[in-house]
Symmetry: C2
């Protein structure tokens, strides 16, 4: 539809796809990595740096924003884009995941979840209808259904119950989303824990309802990478080719390589900024721990050939010093380095898929990581 | 001298002067405000933002850098400019002030000061000769003599003793500085506590020795603004017109207006970043506390007419949210706002001095502060 939400697959390479999600606020090149602006900000990173790194879309956390400053307040201020001064697409999660991980005294029933805010203890209710309402108030370009997300491992019966509940909530979310402005999208979330049969059932049921895109949720919650990838494999074949697929909360650079090869189009993760704050840089030489004393006298930049100014303009010795001295600038620079690296990895995969060479690109990338960091100067 | 250090007074307006300090690494427009990069970084601010704000010169702290990562290390890495990636002029203090305020178990005698590092308890000696050596290793454009800095109030005899000792250290620093590369400057520091007679004597003795510039030290250490300005008044008339005058560790915007009118050319202070981290913005409407609930729903920027993007591009509601949510971006944005405001205040004073209208500019600026913030929307 004109001025609408549209996903176009431009190239395929095995199960992998490269494409474009067109939305009124901008176009997202897929496979896409979405940096996470939890409370309306990436930790230690300016919005113009997120854009310079190459992000087409970012993620906002409904749970955090509904508690502070509040969805109605953000709506009164013109929506989340204007509030954070990011005019490009934004995906918001439904709040479900963080209710499970952060809130106190939560109680899930058919209607929704009641919990105490981790900020002030206030009792808050989140239903499928309210989750959609909040995301409409935020004016998210892509909204997510409310789901119940379990930690793994979990009991089979418990997983089945939560998966079925999430499907009923998906229907209510879809109904609540009717009448959204043109170009706004709603994604369903496949659940099913580590049970391939449940994943299959969940995917089929969601596809029958019909969503603008499909997420694979309830992973990156403590399971091994093998389980995570097995669940991706159990799900992707049951999702329609013409809709984007989003693997929530994933992951490491290796996770991204593996999941794109399996047909995933979208990712989000806090690792670039969290690891940056802790002194860890993602590079084509693998992960580099700047706390390590071997960097203390090293005049070389992290990567002289990087597109990222922070990776080129400062010595490893300086970055080491900043990290050791707990200077905020250390985490700020390394977070930017990591955001650039993640975006460059996605761009490399997009180009490789277009060239029919994703396996070659992935092999070269993994070889670079395995070779490890530059030898001492 | 060619390729040397030169100060040129371009305009005077009463006691105030506007001029240029030319150094091999760049020219500093005076009156100048020097942001403080304590441990080789401003807290929460990128170096390119310091430059964009308009800083011609920054300050590095010898005490911090000698302890971590060490002056010899920085020298091996090509000096402080290359280490922090700031190719423009840098002034370093002598370490004396922070030995007094931060170090443990310090012992001052004729030779120098012995103290325990606040980082690891290591015993470190700082003599006038070592202070100069460290600043040469850092390759500071402007080095400061070692002095003994007391907290005020202090006993008269104690002030007299420290002032006399600082003068003997000044001579030793001057001798140690001989043979510095062309264009590097050494400033003496006028001491004397809150005693105008001692200030006069200290200034005269330093001028007799002959320095490239003169600092007024030992202030902004607990005394009132009236005492601070009285000491400036007691000192400036005894300093040569053709040398820059630097009031160390000062101050608030009001302090800067008052001291420039009294003939001071250079300042340094951590207030722009420290207050920014604490949610306080300096603006032409006065200081604005973003923690205040009145900003929570305010869609207006801090100052739509500011030259600073951070003051224009984000709503007060967003800044309030970031500060309340302890998001690092809040302090980062407000620190940049404050650095721009300080530099714009200096630029405004320079222009006003050139136009012979400093009193008018100062009056208008104070009126703006007194009117206070914009009325509620």
């Amino acid at each position: 539809m004109a001025d609408g939400f549209a996903f176009e697959v431009l190239h395929t390479d095995g199960a992998a796809r490269a494409g474009l999600i067109r939305m009124p606020r901008g176009t997202v090149r897929t496979p896409a990595f979405m940096p996470v602006g939890t409370q309306g900000a990436l930790k230690g990173v300016h919005w113009h740096e997120v854009r310079a790194a190459g992000a087409d879309i970012v993620l906002g956390n409904t749970y955090h924003l509904m508690l502070r400053p509040g969805a109605e307040r953000i709506a009164a201020l013109g929506g989340l884009h204007r509030f954070i001064n990011w005019p490009h697409p934004i995906l918001t999660d439904s709040g479900g995941f963080q209710v499970m991980s952060l809130a106190e005294l939560r109680k899930v029933d058919e209607n929704g979840v009641i919990f105490r805010s981790h900020l002030d203890g206030a009792v808050v209710e989140l239903t499928p209808e309210r989750a959609i309402e909040i995301q409409r108030l935020l004016d998210a370009d892509i909204a997510m259904q409310l789901d119940e997300c379990l930690e793994l491992p979990a009991q089979g019966a418990e997983i089945a119950r939560a998966t079925a509940l999430s499907l009923r909530w998906a229907e209510r979310c879809k109904r609540a989303f009717e009448g959204a402005p043109p170009g706004r999208a709603l994604f369903g979330i496949v659940q099913g824990g580590d049970d391939a049969r449940l994943r299959h059932e969940s995917a089929r049921a969601l596809v029958d309802m019909g969503f603008d895109g499909y997420a694979i949720g309830g992973l990156a919650v403590g399971e091994t990478q093998a389980v995570m990838l097995a669940m991706v494999d159990a799900t992707v074949p049951h999702l329609p080719a013409q809709r984007p697929r989003y693997l929530m909360g994933v992951g490491t650079p290796e996770d991204l390589l593996a999941a794109v090869a399996r047909g995933v189009d979208m990712f989000d993760c806090v690792l670039p900024t969290r690891n940056g704050r802790h002194g860890l840089a993602f590079t084509r030489f693998g992960a580099i721990n700047l706390k390590n004393a071997r960097h203390a006298g090293d005049p070389r930049p992290l990567d002289a050939e990087s597109r990222c100014p922070a990776a080129r303009d400062f010595s490893r010795a300086y970055l080491h010093h900043l990290v050791k001295a707990n200077e905020a600038l250390g985490g700020m620079l390394l977070s930017v380095v990591n955001l650039f690296y993640y975006q460059d990895l996605m761009a490399g995969m997009r180009d490789a898929i277009a060239a029919g060479n994703l396996a070659g690109f992935a092999g070269m990338t993994r070889e670079g990581w395995a070779r490890g960091d530059l030898p001492a100067p």
